[in-house]
């Protein structure tokens, strides 16, 4: 009897395992699609996204299963899913991942057919261009965009008498004014005023924009075929920042830590900032545009020689992974059209806390969806300063890491122009795959 029971138990184990394997392979209908989204404003918030997807399901009958990614390990999850042939049907992120990475590597569906002539006319040209690969295939349909900027603790600026160096109305300043402000702050508060965070992970756009704007350097060539951050102007900017009291190259913190330090009042300025932080600078929800102790946060364009910065843009939208299921691809396209080009687009944009990439959609004017929000309205002053969207340059992932490593090496070096130039040349060559 014992032997029979043990035999049955063993069989149960085998059968249950087999059923698990078979269940994993069971085909699903196109009535359900999966969406993985990075934390793009409230597109990382389950309650907000559920509202949007429930409305979509009610209208189309297509259910959406959502998974929320973080920037810390989101890429790893997606790459693991791709290699395991378990990629989601839809993904929400920017062209640097959807077009330059997964699209270029052959994992995305060409969705050029979703762009009608009318759409092409309505969508911001820079955002539109970023969604297309050089061969004409489109791997992303854009929804929202913003300009990345920096932020200052206005109360600290006033206390140090540095408020005279900023134009609070236009949110701009020159490089000279920036340096004068940092010096004034340093004299009043001592170390630290801010930090060139370079531990790695996200937020690299902030340090790039600071360095590139300070003396007018460039990051890539206009054709987006090569990295050009070894130019003399960038070396000059890196040297200025190295010598500047109060600003250190800090390899122990990432962009998120910098924001936290700024929010906690330790830093008087932050280089990793955009409208999402301005609206909600902390998870404690203590108020938009305020630090923890209630100091006023003023967003600023990055300082440049002429006071007109070229800001780094952020573009976010949807792409479809090619999982070989025509039904799901069609359902995913329906989702994209619903969110990005319909009467529901305004809700999808609002959820992101960013700006729509188009003024109208299907004849509906959505340019004024933030008219009731003072901060968003104020932030639109930065949008004309949007610079080249160069994140689609070849070898982007390696270039980002090379940038961090370059900053770390500059910070660890002796600060001589030769040492900085050597570090910049070395890592720029790495970015260019040499």
């Amino acid at each position: 009897m014992k032997k029979i029971i043990s035999l049955l138990l063993a069989l149960c184990l085998v059968v249950s395992m087999a059923s698990v394997v078979m269940a994993a392979d069971a085909p699903e209908g196109a009535s359900e699609i999966t969406l993985w989204t990075y934390p793009i404003g409230n597109w990382g918030n389950e309650a907000t996204v559920k509202e949007l997807t429930d409305a979509f399901t009610a209208e189309t009958g297509i259910a959406v299963k959502v998974e929320y990614l973080t920037y810390a390990d989101g890429d790893d999850k997606v790459n693991t899913a791709i290699t395991a042939k378990q990629a989601p049907d839809l993904i929400m992120e920017g062209p640097e991942r959807l077009v330059s990475n997964w699209g270029a590597n052959g994992y995305m569906v060409d969705i050029a057919d979703l762009f009608e002539e009318e759409d092409k006319a309505e969508i911001n040209p820079a955002a539109l261009a970023a969604c297309f690969a050089p061969d004409g295939a489109a791997y992303e349909y854009p929804l929202v965009m913003t300009a990345h900027c920096m932020a200052i603790n206005y109360n600290a600026f006033v206390e140090a008498g540095a408020d005279q160096y900023i134009d609070k109305e236009t949110h701009t300043w020159t490089s000279e004014q920036f340096l004068a402000a940092v010096n004034a702050l340093y004299e009043t508060f001592g170390d630290p005023i801010g930090a060139i965070y370079c531990n790695g992970q996200g937020g690299d756009q902030g340090t790039r924009a600071l360095v590139n704007n300070l003396c007018g350097g460039s990051f890539t060539n206009p054709e987006h075929t090569a990295y050009t951050w070894d130019d003399e102007k960038n070396i000059q900017a890196l040297k200025i920042l190295y010598d500047l009291n109060g600003i250190d190259y800090d390899a122990s913190i990432v962009g998120g830590d910098e924001i936290a330090n700024f929010y906690n009042g330790i830093f008087k300025m932050a280089f990793c900032w955009n409208i999402a932080q301005q609206l909600n600078p902390n998870s404690a929800d203590t108020g938009a545009g305020l630090t923890l102790n209630g100091d006023e946060i003023v967003f600023m364009a990055f300082p440049s020689e002429d006071g007109v910065a070229k800001l780094q843009g952020g573009i976010w939208g949807f792409g479809i992974f090619d999982n070989g299921d025509a039904g799901k691809i069609e359902a995913a396209k329906t989702f994209i059209k619903y969110m990005c080009d319909s009467e529901h687009t305004a809700d999808a944009v609002r959820a992101s806390n960013f700006f729509a990439v188009r003024g109208t959609t299907e004849g509906i004017d959505i340019s004024g969806i933030w008219s009731d929000n003072e901060i968003m309205n104020e932030y639109t002053k930065l949008m004309p300063m949007l610079g080249d969207y160069y994140q689609v340059t070849t070898n982007w992932a390696a270039a980002r890491t090379a940038w961090w490593n370059m900053l770390q090496q500059v910070g660890a070096g002796d600060g001589s122009e030769e040492a900085i130039a050597a570090a910049v040349a070395d890592f720029c060559a790495q970015a260019n795959g040499q």
Partner: protein, 298 residues
């Protein structure tokens, strides 16, 4: 197997035995053997993430490139520093703690077991967050204590300075690594044959002689196990690096495990990353074999 059983019953026992083995065997083949074979095979190819191009067999090119890659060599040196520093310290410290506490009464013994084992069962992310706070450049407790006692006059960027970063990682690794060896040593020391200890004491052996001549040989298998496990864990140090320094500053904390991850999952060079994995496995195997050999000789 019982030879008095009839052939039919013996066959039935065999079948049920194999069926019980089957689930774990399937998992072992699917999740250990198959990935290992694939890892070795792809290390000879230029496998990457691009689905538009086929993988090419490039034989030893990845391995040749490895020895010319300054980042890999730096990572290898860092990894070896971690291993050669942390393994002896873990073994000696845990043996010392265990020898002190194993004779204690149940209450204090349990207390010390819990104290030393707590970091092991605490999630590595939680442990890392606490350490990151303590090492913080601006408000960390280490800087606060050292500054307020006059040891330093300017904050030290523990994780951001290449002089300190690797040692900071090693300290965290030590705190999370000693728990299990202490518990094992306590158990091993408790199982030492006390009649031999008493007999040697009657013959006038000193405490040191008793430890080295009586106890040490009996806890040698435990020591060997601890050595091998600690070595493997030290070679595979990854989570701390990923969560704290990402290999920086300036590659000061780059380890082979982290570089494998970076190469495979950030640069998508699976072949090259796997070649590193194979080299790492060879290093671990050699070091483990040496440890076994030395222990056997003893």
């Amino acid at each position: 197997m019982d030879k008095t059983l009839s052939p039919k019953l013996r066959r039935q026992e065999n079948i049920s035995g194999y069926l019980f083995l089957l689930p774990s065997l399937v998992f072992f083949l699917a999740f250990v053997v198959y990935p290992m074979v694939m890892c070795i095979w792809t290390s000879f190819t230029d496998a990457n993430m691009n689905s538009n191009t086929a993988d090419h067999f490039i034989f030893l090119d990845n391995y040749i490139e490895l020895w010319k890659d300054p980042v890999f060599l730096k990572a290898l040196v860092n990894t070896l520093i971690i291993v050669f520093v942390s393994v002896p310290i873990v073994c000696i410290f845990s043996l010392w703690v265990a020898s002190v506490i194993h004779k204690m009464k149940e209450g204090p013994l349990s207390f010390f077991r819990i104290v030393f084992y707590l970091p092991v069962v605490t999630g590595s992310v939680a442990v890392t967050v606490v350490w990151k706070w303590m090492y913080n450049n601006y408000y960390g407790i280490f800087n606060y204590v050292l500054k307020s006692t006059g040891v330093i006059d300017k904050n030290i960027n523990w994780l951001g300075d290449s002089k300190f970063a690797l040692w900071c990682i090693i300290i965290i690794l030590l705190t999370t690594s000693v728990g299990q060896p202490i518990v094992l040593y306590v158990s091993a020391l408790s199982n030492v044959d006390h009649s031999l200890v008493e007999a040697s004491q009657v013959d006038g052996a000193t405490n040191t002689q008793v430890f080295w001549r009586i106890c040490w040989p009996q806890i040698m298998p435990t020591t060997l196990y601890i050595l091998v496990i600690t070595t493997i864990n030290s070679f595979q140090c990854f989570a701390l690096i990923q969560l704290l320094t990402s290999g920086g500053p300036n590659y000061a904390t780059e380890t082979v495990m982290y570089y494998i991850y970076y190469t495979a999952f950030k640069l998508y060079r699976f072949g090259y990353g796997n070649a590193m994995g194979v080299i790492l496995a060879i290093f671990i195997a050699i070091l483990s074999a040496v440890q076994f050999r030395l222990a056997k000789e003893k």
